[in-house]
């Protein structure tokens, strides 16, 4: 029913939220709750269809639909394991967030706009997931960006919100342009191999379909392929907030908390990871030239693209976690946490991809989904807290656990999941435990095989820091003395129910891991793409390596417990002094200053644009046109005018002079 080739249901997954968007936008004002039920119903519908599709195609079918669009582009739907998993996650989390928002946004007068925009946002993300070609993917991807712009700037009357929205859009736009450049390069290369007769497609319209791309990837010039994949990854860096384009994500907290949850958990940021996962065969197919060229710096036999993905991801995971340690805004902490966790996903794709092949997609996606659950939970809890205390600053919170038991508990569950707490060997633990464990093990395996242990080191240290900052957050907010005047209270049911559902998932999702990996590993095979699997037996993983993630997780908890709950260590001394490291972290490595102020405003606007303006107005227009051409003509006119003295004898003189001159000219010219 859902997966027939001509079934309309797959398309409905996207179209329902779009419809909801239109209806809510125009009718929302007249409906109760700002029309919130329209998007909720639509997304619920999408979820049900996704579920239906999943049930029908599991375990070894895919849905593919395609129609010609404009020029040589097509529009189509591809639901393979990768997509269907994402679909269910996105629709489900989004649905919960929508429900939660009914309560959270209940006092906002612009509710219809809010729900319309979130519906569109969800639709755009679903579009990304469903796309069967890279162009449609890009289009949806851009729509996601725009929706995030609209949502981050939802309270547009706040200058900071407007600025953050702009920053989010522009920084991701940098990535988008790289992505677009990658598409251009890919398009050109595919056209080239078609022109050279080495490759053919059924129809021009299928030029940019993923399946075509994967096939073509084997024929494209390897260097070009590296460029293409790296450009794609550039897009992913922007969207997923990887270093160095991570700055927009923490600022994006200016929107309503539900929006943050949506952006950080279910949609938007995961699109970057999804992009790399989607085009993973191309990444794997890139040549390993870096290792050959610089054997002392880079491991051998690791595809260049994957190597870079791994390093960027790993570094981001660590880098963002350091900043998470010192942030005081509850949402900022979570934002850096998101950046860091996305780094993990990238790391997984890079490292595991290099040694395990297609399995890496499963590993990464598993973390993506578990992260979606616990991060959404974290944000919604944060929203609940903010709703209750009216501030974002964790220094002004405290002792909330007594008043907000549900929120406190669920948030603790989420924190545990984020920190990856669980019991090794027994395979009991939170969702994060399983997913993160796999990533760290994957990077260890990578290190074993290639001798490059740096990504592994990144992963482990970041895990420690993650644990510290998240429990710091929890302890500061929920324990100790209340530091706020305001009377906090538990949120209404419409908000707490989603928390509970998410908490359950954050706790138990991990147990699906075996089936999950198996299902996703076959993803590309189902599309007919052969990928080099991992060769040989998996190396024996030492016990200490298996234990390490949990150990650092617990260690982090203990450190936070010591500092922020028991207050055995007074942090105020460290933070109040002009500790350069603290300042560096608090100022986010001066990234906003360098990125926005220096590059964005000073260099682009003040230097380049203003000098262009100067050239345009003063030189081209002012000097050349107005002054040289215009003024000269006028003064010439004035001067020539004065020749007309009004005295007739002068006129006669001029006439006779003219005769003389004519004679001279003729003499000179005619030579007579």
């Amino acid at each position: 029913m859902f997966s027939e080739p001509d079934s309309i249901f797959p398309a409905l997954i996207v179209l329902l939220p779009v419809l909801a968007f239109v209806l809510t936008l125009f009718l929302g004002k007249k409906l109760p709750h700002g029309g919130a039920y329209l998007p909720i119903a639509a997304i619920a519908g999408s979820f049900i269809i996704s579920l239906g599709v999943f049930l029908e195609i599991y375990p070894d079918k895919i849905v593919q639909q395609s129609w010609p669009w404009f020029a040589n582009m097509n529009i189509g739907i591809l639901i393979d394991p990768l997509a269907v998993v994402m679909l269910m996650m996105v629709t489900f989390v989004s649905l919960l967030i929508h429900i939660y928002a009914v309560g959270y946004m209940s006092h906002d007068p612009a509710k219809p706009r809010y729900f319309a925009e979130t519906a569109l946002f969800t639709a755009a993300m679903l579009g990304v997931v469903l796309s069967d070609n890279i162009l449609q993917f890009f289009i949806s991807w851009e729509l996601v960006g725009v929706c995030s712009f609209l949502l981050i700037g939802f309270w547009y009357h706040k200058p900071s919100a407007a600025a953050a929205a702009k920053k989010a859009f522009l920084v991701t736009r940098v990535g988008d342009v790289l992505f677009l450049a990658g598409i251009v390069l890919l398009y050109v290369n595919i056209n080239e191999i078609i022109a050279s007769g080495r490759f053919s497609v059924a129809s021009d319209n299928y030029l940019l379909q993923f399946s075509t791309m994967f096939e073509a990837a084997k024929l494209i010039d390897p260097t070009q392929l590296t460029y293409i994949t790296l450009l794609f990854f550039g897009g992913a860096i922007g969207k997923s907030g990887q270093f160095p384009l991570h700055g927009w994500l923490p600022d994006a907290m200016e929107g309503p908390t539900t929006v943050s949850a949506l952006i950080h958990a279910a949609t938007m940021v995961t699109a970057g990871v999804y992009l790399v996962a989607r085009t993973f065969p191309m990444f794997v197919a890139t040549p390993a030239t870096l290792g050959e060229l610089y054997p002392s710096f880079f491991p051998a036999h690791v595809p260049d693209a994957l190597l870079i993905v791994a390093y960027i991801g790993g570094f981001t995971a660590l880098f963002a976690a350091t900043m998470g340690l010192v942030m005081n805004d509850i949402k900022r902490v979570l934002a850096y946490s998101t950046v860091s966790q996305l780094g993990y996903m990238m790391l997984a794709l890079g490292t595991a991809g290099a040694v395990l092949g297609a399995k890496a997609v499963g590993i990464s996606l598993f973390h993506l989904i578990s992260h979606a659950f616990f991060k959404a939970l974290l944000f919604l809890c944060a929203g609940s807290v903010i709703h209750a205390v009216g501030t974002n600053d964790i220094r002004e919170m405290g002792g909330l656990f007594k008043k907000m038991k549900i929120t406190g508990t669920t948030m603790m569950i989420a924190a545990l999941s984020l920190a990856g707490i669980g019991i090794p060997f027994l395979n009991i633990g939170t969702a994060g435990f399983f997913s993160k464990d796999m990533i760290i093990e994957g990077s260890f395996e990578y290190g074993e095989k290639t001798g490059d242990m740096i990504p592994y080191a990144f992963a482990v240290i970041a895990a420690l820091l993650t644990s510290i900052y998240i429990f710091r957050l929890w302890f500061m907010a929920f324990t100790g003395k209340p530091r706020s005047e305001r009377h906090a209270h538990e949120s209404p049911n419409v908000m707490t129910r989603p928390l509970m559902i998410l908490a359950i998932l954050a706790l138990f999702f991990g147990f699906t891991q075996v089936g999950f990996y198996g299902y996703l590993e076959k993803n590309f095979e189902l599309m007919g793409v052969e990928m080099a699997g991992h060769e040989g037996e998996a190396p024996e993983i030492p016990v200490i390596i298996i234990l390490l993630p949990v150990i650092v997780g617990v260690l982090g908890f203990l450190i936070s417990y010591a500092i922020y709950y028991k207050r055995w260590l007074d942090m105020s001394k460290i933070i109040s002094s002009s500790n350069p490291l603290y300042k560096l972290l608090l100022n986010r490595y001066y990234e906003p200053k360098i990125g926005a102020d220096i590059i964005g405003v000073k260099l682009t606007h003040d230097v380049v644009a203003q000098s262009g303006e100067f050239v345009d107005r003063k030189i081209i227009d002012g000097l050349v046109i107005d002054n040289i051409i215009g003024k000269t003509t006028f003064s010439l006119g004035e001067a020539a005018r004065k020749l007309q003295t009004g005295v007739v004898q002068n006129y006669a003189s001029v006439t006779l002079l003219g005769v003389g001159l004519l004679l001279i000219v003729l003499k000179l010219v005619g030579g007579i």
Binding site: R641, K642, Q644, T645, G646, V647, V648, Q649, A652, S653, L656
Partner: protein, 100 residues
């Protein structure tokens, strides 16, 4: 009899004197006289050519031009007199309300 060239020289001299007069003189009357000199010079040319070419049309031309010069003089002086009535001067240096 002097040759054609001599007549042409005389005509050229008178023509030049007339030109000089037009440029230098201030009185309207003198300028008109100078113009008459120039026309006269042209007439000398016409008649001289006519005579040396043995063709009568030059003389006819000269007759016409004499008549026309006379008419022109009449008009010119009439304008001068009219102007004098209005402006009380015929010094052309001062007659320059129209300029620039």
């Amino acid at each position: 009899m002097a040759d054609l060239f001599m007549f042409l020289i005389i005509s050229a001299i008178i023509f030049s004197i007339g030109s000089y007069g037009i440029i230098t003189q201030r009185s309207g009357i003198k300028i008109l006289m100078s113009i008459e000199l120039m026309l006269n010079a042209a007439n000398i040319n016409l008649v001289a050519f006519s005579s040396f070419n043995g063709d009568a049309s030059g003389q006819v031309f000269a007759l016409f031009s004499i008549a026309i010069a006379a008419a022109e003089a009449a008009i010119g002086f009439a304008i001068l007199v009219a102007l004098f009535k209005v402006r009380d001067t015929i010094n052309l240096d001062n007659i320059n309300i129209l300029r620039w």
